[in-house]
């Protein structure tokens, strides 16, 4: 293994990390948003129906 091989490996690992992180962040954000948005929507609806 030479220095250029190590550089190549590091670059390759970075490509792999990006390819994993991008979809993971999209899914984490999406699932978190789904729960948060719909929970607050249900809570708002409950409060408004109780107020009536």
């Amino acid at each position: 293994m030479r220095l250029q091989d190590v550089t190549l490996l590091v670059k390759k690992i970075l490509v792999g990390v990006v390819a994993t992180a991008v979809p993971l962040l999209i899914l984490l954000g999406g699932l978190h948003f789904t729960r948060k948005a719909l929970t607050s929507k249900s809570a708002t609806e409950q409060i408004s129906s109780q107020a009536k």
Partner: protein, 339 residues
């Protein structure tokens, strides 16, 4: 050697479209919940123990089936391929060693690494999020993992073909002059260790999507092994006229031997072979969406790489740690990036 400007532009364009495709299953799930009023996380909170028990029993049943069942399936397929003489004497000593070493490495090296990642790295990187999304209904979990796992593998695979400095990590998978079930695991070990979709799916399992992951990975294992196999299971669909509509859907949805064999052809100008595309693993749909698909319903006459001269098995398995002794090979110490 630099990446072609047109290819780079297409990668960026298709990459941006992929962001939307990744988000699609979650967006559809959100809309379904919004309009139907379903709130599965509330059910999970109320009945967490039975639901957890259901998932655990499910994983207990399907887990071993996924591990050993798939291995047994590959083994039986291998025996069938041999008994039909489908390797036609091209399985030389060096090719045999390469196939067996790659197959063994995927079990001996990769599994412990992924297990370590799941047990030690994920709790550290995503603390407190274990089973955080276990409320995701089974159907939606399957949909999310189908898209996340396979689209990520499509990109990982496509980049190793279209980015010149990545090609040599994937070359081992294309060097054999034959097709067979062993080809599915014939990979350089560094290519396999950094398979992005493995870590993505492991993270989703950690987050609570273990049950759906088992189903998707089992299905994916069967489809990809059959796509590499020398048994042309899709031929009857092209020959029998009644089955043509089914063939039309099938060949656009999943990888078939015809489309995936075309990807392994040693030529790309005969109207059949197409190593410049057909990158899909479980789903071929990605190739159709991104314009990298080529469907001919025919099988290439020859496979592999035209300039391949039988690099030693250890160089194919472990390049760049070990180099090939074949003069001028892409895997040799001073070999070209792409020949």
């Amino acid at each position: 050697m630099k990446i072609d400007a047109e290819v780079r532009e297409r990668i960026i364009r298709n990459g941006l479209a992929s962001v939307l495709i990744y988000a699609l299953p979650v967006a559809l799930m959100f809309l379904t919940f919004y309009f139907t009023g379903q709130r599965p996380w509330q059910q999970t909170a109320n009945a967490s123990v039975p639901l957890l028990r259901y998932y655990q029993s499910f994983e207990h049943t399907l887990g071993p089936l996924n591990n050993y069942g798939l291995t047994l399936f590959v083994f039986i397929l291998g025996i069938l391929e041999f008994s039909f003489g489908l390797y036609e004497g091209r399985w030389t000593k060096n090719e045999r060693a390469t196939d067996i070493a790659c197959f063994a490495a995927s079990y001996i090296v990769i599994r412990p690494i992924v297990t370590y990642f799941g047990l030690k790295v994920l709790p550290f990187v995503l603390p407190g999020l274990k089973n955080h999304f276990a409320w995701v209904p089974f159907f939606w979990g399957v949909f999310i993992i189908c898209v996340a796992d396979d689209l990520t593998q499509y990109w990982y695979h496509r980049l190793h073909h279209q980015v010149p400095w990545l090609w040599r990590f994937h070359r081992t998978h294309h060097s054999a002059a034959y097709m067979g079930m062993a080809m599915a695991s014939r990979q350089n070990v560094i290519y396999t260790i950094f398979f992005s979709q493995i870590y993505l799916t492991a993270a989703l399992v950690y987050l609570g999507l273990g049950g759906p992951a088992l189903i998707v990975l089992g299905l994916k294992g069967i489809i990809t092994t059959l796509a590499h196999s020398s048994i042309p299971w899709d031929k009857p669909f092209y020959k029998c006229k009644v089955l043509h509509p089914v063939a039309w859907v099938l060949e656009r949805l999943i990888s078939t031997p015809a489309t995936h064999h075309a990807h392994h052809a040693d030529a790309t100008d005969d109207g059949i072979g197409y190593y410049k595309g057909n990158f899909g693993n479980m789903f071929f749909l990605w190739d159709v969406i991104f314009g990298t698909a080529h469907i001919s319903r025919e099988y290439p006459k020859s496979y592999g790489i035209t300039h391949y001269e039988g690099d030693q098995w250890y160089a194919q398995l472990l390049w760049p740690i070990f180099k090939s002794k074949v003069e001028g090979s892409e895997l040799a110490a001073n070999g070209p990036m792409v020949k």
